[in-house]
């Protein structure tokens, strides 16, 4: 398929992040659009990733109205991929929408999340109402969406995308972190816990959705779920990632054992946090050392690394058991969205990326 003749200039905010960087890469490499990569600061691996391409990179902290104004000037489209704390998610989106309103863009694509539905079950379409959960991330994304809809009524051509679990090369969470957990033996087949649905969307399928949302007239003022072509359980995901990594078969973990381990991890984690909060930075450095670690420092490093890989109770109760399917039928019907990467194809590329970057050494 070919790129557009009527070339857009796209500002990608949060361009150093996992989603933003891939949007920049694909739009640049396919020649689909002129890309302006908006970043918060130069000091980041994500910026090093972007700088491999001859694209325009500029500082655009969405909390800084002057920077936003400058970044938005002259673009046709904004793809808003910033992921920050609650304040950034809401106020930053507001700042961008204001600039978009002033400059009269063709499209404002807001990357939201399927988490705006809370913790539902069953098939979840866009008509499902918001579900506040107390999570700063999800609740602030709801507020950001509300702002988007409000600005749509003021003439900003907004489209909202609600991706499920986005994974693929450069994904530090569902690929790199879970690979490390599998390598360390922290994951298994969680009997009684891991049978919830794992709604995976390969990053390039999401970029396809973003491009469709950026261009399709019928997308304006709408929200769309974004999901992959295949829904599997979490246990199945662990099994397939494990196989792609060429690791020995996963053991089954009984519900009581999984729960006991997760509770132990949480108790140790909370205790360590309390201890840490009572030690000054100076004392911490004395106890654990700098680059040259003390014995206590080495023990602490090892304990922290081990704890970071262990499964949390929150995961067992709120993630791996959730029986929700976020249907992308609306995007398929209206935008012609066709996800192409099934789980195995996605994992093959992701594991190739892991190997290239030395994660599997």
């Amino acid at each position: 398929m070919s790129a557009q003749h009527d070339k857009q200039t796209v500002l990608v905010t949060g361009a150093a992040g996992f989603v933003g960087a891939r949007v920049v890469e694909i739009l640049h490499l396919t020649g689909a659009a002129e890309v302006r990569a908006g970043i918060r600061q130069w000091s980041s691996a994500g910026v090093a990733r972007l700088a491999r391409f001859p694209v325009d990179i500029l500082i655009c902290d969405v909390m800084n109205k002057t920077q936003v104004e400058k970044a938005v000037d002259g673009v046709t489209t904004i793809v808003h991929c910033v992921l920050g704390d609650g304040k950034v998610n809401v106020e930053g989106t507001h700042n961008l929408l204001e600039a978009a309103k002033k400059h009269g863009l063709r499209r404002f694509v807001h990357i939201s999340t399927a988490e705006v539905y809370g913790e539902p079950s069953g098939e979840i379409a866009e008509t499902t109402s918001y579900g506040y959960t107390g999570s700063e991330y999800a609740d602030s994304k709801i507020e950001a969406e509300r702002l988007c809809f409000e600005y749509h009524t003021h003439g900003v051509p907004v489209t909202i995308l609600r991706p499920s679990i986005v994974y693929g090369p450069f994904d530090k969470m569902w690929i790199a972190y879970f690979a490390r957990r599998l390598q360390s033996g922290r994951l298994g087949i969680f009997k009684g816990y891991g049978e919830g649905f794992c709604n995976l969307i390969y990053i390039d399928d999401l970029v396809q959705g973003i491009w469709l949302a950026s261009n399709h007239d019928a997308a304006v003022g709408e929200a769309f779920n974004m999901n992959g072509p295949e829904i599997i359980t979490w246990n199945e995901y662990f099994r397939r990632l494990n196989a792609a990594l060429n690791l020995p078969d996963l053991p089954e973990i009984s519900p009581s054992r999984a729960r006991f381990k997760a509770m132990s991890r949480d108790v140790i984690g909370s205790t360590l946090k309390v201890i840490q909060s009572h030690i000054s930075e100076r004392m911490k450095k004395r106890l654990i050392g700098g680059i040259r670690r003390t014995t206590m420092g080495r023990v602490a490093d090892s304990a922290r690394s081990s704890m970071n890989l262990a499964v949390e109770l929150r995961e067992l109760d709120h993630v791996y058991r959730r029986k929700a399917i976020y249907t992308a039928a609306k995007a398929q019907r209206i935008l012609g969205y066709r996800p192409k990467f099934d789980v195995n194809a996605s994992l093959q590329l992701s594991v190739a990326w892991l190997a290239h970057h030395g994660f599997l050494a």
């Binding site: 396919t30 130069w42 261009n215």
Partner: protein
């Protein structure tokens, strides 16, 4: 070493007057803490940076009374200059000081090409001053010990070497010169390559042949680079990354033993002998952190100017690594990265 006829002409008493050109993160974290331990030199120190705001902040925090926004203003005022600006300016600024008969200590990379480096060295000789470079890892006791062991052929011939240095880029660069399309020129190979490739050339005492150079540039600056080298029967592999953590180790396998160490493990040297015995050689080092080596560099530079001491790392010694870096860029191939193949976006009428 040539004595600089003009040395001390700008100083009152024994302590030379030094200017630091460029007040970015490295100056703040490495050089200024070192000068704080050399109060004699700190009193005469001049800070130079194009940002007056940055200068005022650093000068106030470090009790430096003199600062300028243009290095041309100090060319006639100083005995020595520490060049800590983005690397594309190393050559031109160093040359200006060298022409004025000022000793120069330059951050790595000394220059972006061997020709530039040679020109700088020739100018230093002509002016009768020293030109040295800060390759901090050369000062690590572990790396010095390796050099000794290899020279003495203590464990026989080296057969295989590897060096891996990677982490998610987090250097608090204020200017973003590495990545900013307006200033960038060369990526990780020009940033970390000088350390890695210089150590290898220095340890071996020669410049190895380049076998393969691969990186991930798509027309911008590379964030990951792999280099394969060969020196006699010794195969060498270097992996550098700004994107994620690597093993961050080096290993040197010789006929009779293998050294395997964290690349920042300067205080000890783990050696596995062919017999299977593992020996950890402790090395004397008072440095607790990387930046503590700044004092060694600064003190040496003061003594180079004041007492005609030899520089710790003369510029001429790093020429092989600069040549190697240039070769790596000239012969670089892009990695096979399947996640960048067959990319497409759907054909759809654009929004109006």
């Amino acid at each position: 070493m040539n004595k600089n006829n003009r040395a001390h002409s700008k100083s009152d008493g024994d302590t030379p007057r030094i200017a630091i050109i460029g007040c970015g993160a490295f100056t703040e974290l490495f050089y200024l803490p070192a000068f704080a331990k050399r109060l004699d030199a700190l009193r005469k120190l001049i800070l130079v940076d194009s940002s007056a705001e940055r200068l005022q902040k650093l000068a106030a925090e470090n009790q430096v009374s003199t600062f300028r926004t243009n290095y041309h203003d100090v060319l006639d005022e100083v005995d020595g200059a520490i060049i800590a600006v983005p690397h594309q300016f190393h050559h031109s600024i160093s040359m200006d000081f060298l022409r004025k008969g000022v000793h120069v200590l330059c951050e790595k990379p000394l220059a972006e090409s061997p020709d530039e480096a040679r020109e700088m060295i020739a100018q230093a000789e002509k002016s009768g001053v020293t030109l040295s470079v800060n390759h901090t890892q050369r000062l690590f006791p572990a790396n010095i010990k390796i050099k000794e062991l290899l020279i003495q052929r203590k464990f026989g011939q080296p057969l295989q070497m590897s060096y891996a240095w990677g982490d998610a880029f987090a250097w608090p660069t204020a200017s973003g010169f590495y990545f900013n399309p307006k200033t960038r020129k060369g990526g990780i190979l020009l940033d970390r390559g000088p350390h890695a490739l210089d150590l290898i050339c220095w340890w071996l005492g020669c410049k190895p042949d380049l076998v393969l150079s691969e990186n991930d540039s798509f027309g911008g600056v590379e964030a990951v680079a792999h280099v394969r080298l060969q020196s006699g029967d010794c195969m060498i592999e270097v992996k550098l990354s700004w994107l994620n953590e690597l093993s961050n180790n080096y290993s040197i396998r010789c006929e009779l033993a293998e050294i395997n160490n964290n690349f920042l493990g300067w205080w000890q040297l783990p050696i596995r002998h062919k017999s299977g015995k593992v020996e950890i050689v402790p090395l004397h080092s008072s440095e607790r952190d990387y930046n503590d080596f700044g004092l060694k560099i600064v003190s040496n530079f003061i003594d180079v100017i004041r007492k005609d001491d030899a520089p710790l790392i003369p510029a001429s010694e790093v020429i092989p690594s600069i040549e190697l870096i240039q070769e790596c860029y000239l012969k670089a191939q892009r990695f096979n990265l399947p996640w960048y193949q067959n990319l497409e976006v759907p054909n759809v009428s654009p929004a109006r």
